[in-house]
């Protein structure tokens, strides 16, 4: 289907839209590193927010000398892409503090700039957001959102009115609603997990209204979508920075009916309240978003995965966890045990290396699991 082809093309080349947009509009682009950043606020300032992404297998040469020692693979990949020109179209870079190593990246760029070892790059802002359920957390996070607003006003040279922020929130919520409608189709086995991943991620690469138009078009054409009959699975674990893992699972006869990772439909929950102070609403929503392993308690993760299971009725859950993704690995045994108590089978795909193409073949492993356990 043409719309899906276009979405996948953009997913494969996440920079093409932003470059073209910038050339056509003369506008500014802000890279967003982390799911905690209220992109709505950036959009309200007339700046295009684009998610900054690592890429497994991409060259690390630009960052190699900086990464020796204790840099994990995702951090190394992010640094390399920010240094090697991949993101040379960014005017600004907003860095969140979860996962914690994003904060290290901020400190690194700050130091690089201070020592003048870095070629000129985007202006960098740290966006510090916490996730604990304390009163102090709410105050801190609201303060962070206000700080982001002030910086965006400085960057854009204009004030951000409550109306402009509310309009951006409305567009963001509409995006989430449309994606959730598409996710319903996915649960009805009409859209593959890899398609849904691309749809969710490209929302972070385009102007919302334009992306929403794509989603609406796709929904209008839902009758043309195929029917899949593979075995229903939930993916849970480390973020997938390309489609190879999902494609490997799908090639084994698995149908990823839901995903429990920050690249997927975890981004869709919850909506932002639209009838309260917009800065409060943003702070609240990003504080208590759908729980990832970084920054949220294991009990919240168990509940979230349990709700996914109840909603999607999978035959099994596939855990894919990177060796360097410690918080996700810490969550795994409790999630596995909770599934077992609920009578849901699961498999863990080893302790994987980032971008590993040489390890245990995923498709074979999944196929074997599916035939042995699920039948």
């Amino acid at each position: 289907m043409e719309i899906l082809n276009r979405v996948h093309a953009l997913y494969r080349d996440p920079h093409s839209y932003a470059r073209a947009w910038k050339a056509q509009t003369g506008g500014k682009v802000a890279g967003c590193l982390g799911l905690d950043i209220p992109q709505e606020l950036i959009a309200a300032a007339g700046i295009l927010p684009v998610r900054v992404l690592p890429l497994p297998g991409a060259p690390l040469d630009a960052a190699r000398s900086f990464c020796e020692g204790a840099s994990g693979p995702v951090l190394s990949s992010l640094a390399a892409r920010l240094l090697d020109g991949t993101y040379d179209y960014l005017d600004y870079l907003v860095i969140a503090t979860r996962p914690a190593y994003y904060g290290e990246l901020y400190a690194f760029f700050r130091e690089l700039g201070r020592t003048e070892a870095r070629p000129s790059g985007p202006a960098v802002l740290l966006f510090d957001l916490h996730h604990d359920a304390k009163a102090s957390t709410r105050r801190f996070n609201l303060d962070s959102v206000k700080g982001l607003k002030a910086k965006l006003e400085e960057w854009s040279g204009k004030g951000l009115s409550p109306e402009s922020i509310q309009a951006a929130i409305a567009a963001g919520n509409q995006s989430r609603r449309l994606l959730r409608q598409l996710n319903q189709l996915r649960m009805q086995c009409r859209l593959q997990g890899s398609d849904m991943l691309a749809l969710a991620e490209t929302a972070n690469l385009m102007e919302r209204d334009e992306h929403n138009g794509l989603l609406e078009d796709l929904l209008k054409r839902k009758a043309q979508l195929p029917h899949y009959h593979d075995i229903r699975l939930i993916y849970s674990g480390s973020d997938t920075d390309d489609l190879s893992i999902y494609r490997a699972i799908e090639a084994a006869g698995g149908y990823i009916v839901a995903d429990d990772q920050d690249r997927g439909t975890r981004q869709l929950l919850p909506l932002i309240e639209e009838h309260v102070d917009p800065l409060q609403a943003l702070a609240q929503r990003y504080t208590r978003r759908a729980p990832s392993s970084w920054g949220f308690r294991t009990g919240e993760r168990i509940r979230y995965l349990g709700e996914l299971v109840e909603e999607c009725h999978p035959a099994a859950v596939v855990f894919y966890i990177l060796a360097a993704d410690h918080p996700t690995a810490w969550d795994y045994p409790a999630l596995r045990d909770s599934l077992e108590q609920a009578g849901i089978q699961s498999v863990r795909l080893g302790s994987r290396l980032y971008g590993d193409r040489q390890g245990e073949p995923l498709t074979e492993r999944i196929r074997e699991f599916l035939s042995r356990q699920v039948g």
Partner: protein, 444 residues
């Protein structure tokens, strides 16, 4: 990994030479304190189990006993139980490369039937507290909470976005807020107040601000003794003490900081070090090289450090413990809770915030006249390796600074507490090569 021989085990398990007369007394006090704690807990008294970045001063101001995770981890490791206990964690599905130093304490509670548990094993805590810095800390303490149905409090520090680094070492004792920013301090203070309310609710203990003020004062006295001791060691060759002597002399009282006992032990440490300096007593007769150990202590093998002074006259004179005690802990201010927040911010800023961390290392190298650096540094990304406390650029900036200073560095990639990953022969050879070729041979 090569399995060590019985002979090697025996050699490794030998305690390092105790060059301080009171070292055994410190260990004995620690042990007695722990057994007293167990008795009190059995009698129904609450106690808290906390991570190292949690201010124990608050607990002491409530007369609430507190055990620090990394202290207990060091005890377990020193008793050679890390492999066994971490294995129990692995059996539950926790990957081998997960943070051993910070999870060994929890792992030790899984060995309930162990008749040889260190000091009879850790009693069950009433509450657990950690910060949320690296992502795994929160998971580990959450595990404590879920496993034993214990209330858990998380502290989320703010990142210092724009530290004012001009003369930060000199300003650190008094001007910490201007270095790190009011927001960083405010964020911690607010959470400390919430922590106090949490502890009062779950333990029945009451917080005493006057007592905290006293604790800050007496702990500052303790830490200033460490600073004076540091100067003695730094300026004396041959060094009167190596780090195997220093670490227990510092860390045991550090876990008890805010008490007269701890202050007195720090004074004793200073006085004995001064006596040694005045008497010309060095750990070696002929000191050929002064080494810096960069990283946490090798708790399962403190004797490792002494091997090189015997073989080469190369003395490990510096570790983070005395240096952090000297520069991170002494903190002064009018508001004790705010000052405490300043202290905790400084400690972690010194170690983890660029450029403070690299500048600090450079200062210490000059202070101690260091000839070479041996860095523990975290492992690399493998299913077996562990990328703990991920950072980027630290080794780059450090290396660049060391090159400018002409100070060689050797990275050994070892685990502080997990003896399973330790290859004694290979590591000794690596460091020996570094000393011979990188340090001694490089001299004009």
């Amino acid at each position: 990994m090569q399995k060590e021989t019985a002979e090697q085990t025996s050699a490794r398990e030998q305690l390092p030479q105790k060059n301080l007369s009171f070292a055994r007394e410190n260990s004995a006090y620690n042990r007695e304190w722990f057994f007293d704690l167990k008795t009190r807990v059995e009698g129904g008294e609450p106690y808290a189990y906390v991570n190292a970045d949690v201010p124990t001063e608050i607990f002491k101001a409530m007369d609430l006993p507190v055990v620090v995770n990394q202290w207990w981890s060091a005890v377990v490791s020193a008793k050679q139980k890390s492999a066994e206990y971490l294995g129990l964690l692995n059996e539950r599905g926790y990957a081998k490369n997960l943070c051993q130093y910070c999870s060994l304490g929890f792992a030790s509670t899984l060995a309930r039937a162990d008749q040889d548990a260190p000091w009879g094993g850790l009693p069950g805590p009433t509450v657990v507290v950690s910060a949320a810095r690296c992502g795994s800390d929160q998971k580990i303490f959450d595990l404590w909470s879920r496993e034993y149905d214990i209330p858990y409090f998380t502290i989320e520090p703010a990142v210092a976005a724009h530290p004012d680094i001009d003369d930060w070492v000199e300003r650190g004792r008094h001007e910490w807020e201007s270095i790190y920013g009011a927001r960083v301090i405010d964020t911690l203070v607010e959470q400390y107040r919430e922590l106090i309310a949490f502890l009062e609710k779950h333990t029945g203990k009451r917080f005493d601000m006057d007592k905290l003020e006293w604790i800050m004062q007496i702990s500052n006295e303790q830490e200033e003794y460490y600073a004076s001791t540091r100067e003695l060691i730094a300026k004396t060759s041959p060094a009167p003490l190596n780090i195997a002597d220093q670490i227990p002399a510092i860390m045991i009282p550090q876990w008890h900081r805010g008490t007269e006992w701890a202050r007195d032990r720090a004074r004793m440490f200073y006085e004995e070090t001064r006596r040694k300096v005045e008497a010309g007593e060095g750990v070696v007769e002929r000191e050929r090289a002064r080494l810096m150990w960069l990283g946490t202590g090798l708790w399962h093998n403190l004797a490792f450090y002494e091997h090189f002074q015997r073989e080469y006259g190369a003395v490990f004179v510096w570790s983070i413990y005395l240096a952090v005690a000297s520069d991170g802990y002494p903190t002064y201010g009018d508001d004790p809770l705010r000052t405490l927040a300043g202290r905790m911010t400084k400690i972690f800023g010194i170690m983890y915030t660029p450029p403070l961390n690299t500048q600090w290392i450079g200062n210490e190298i000059r202070r101690f006249d260091i000839d070479g650096v041996v860095s523990l540094h975290a492992g690399t990304e493998t299913p077996e390796g562990s990328v703990c406390q991920q950072n980027i650029g630290y080794n780059y900036f450090l290396h660049r600074m060391l090159e400018e200073m002409g100070t060689p560095i050797c990275y050994i990639g070892a685990n502080t507490v997990d003896s399973r990953s330790w290859d004694d022969e290979a590591t000794k050879q690596r460091v020996a090569n570094f000393i011979e070729l990188g340090v001694l041979a490089a001299r004009p």
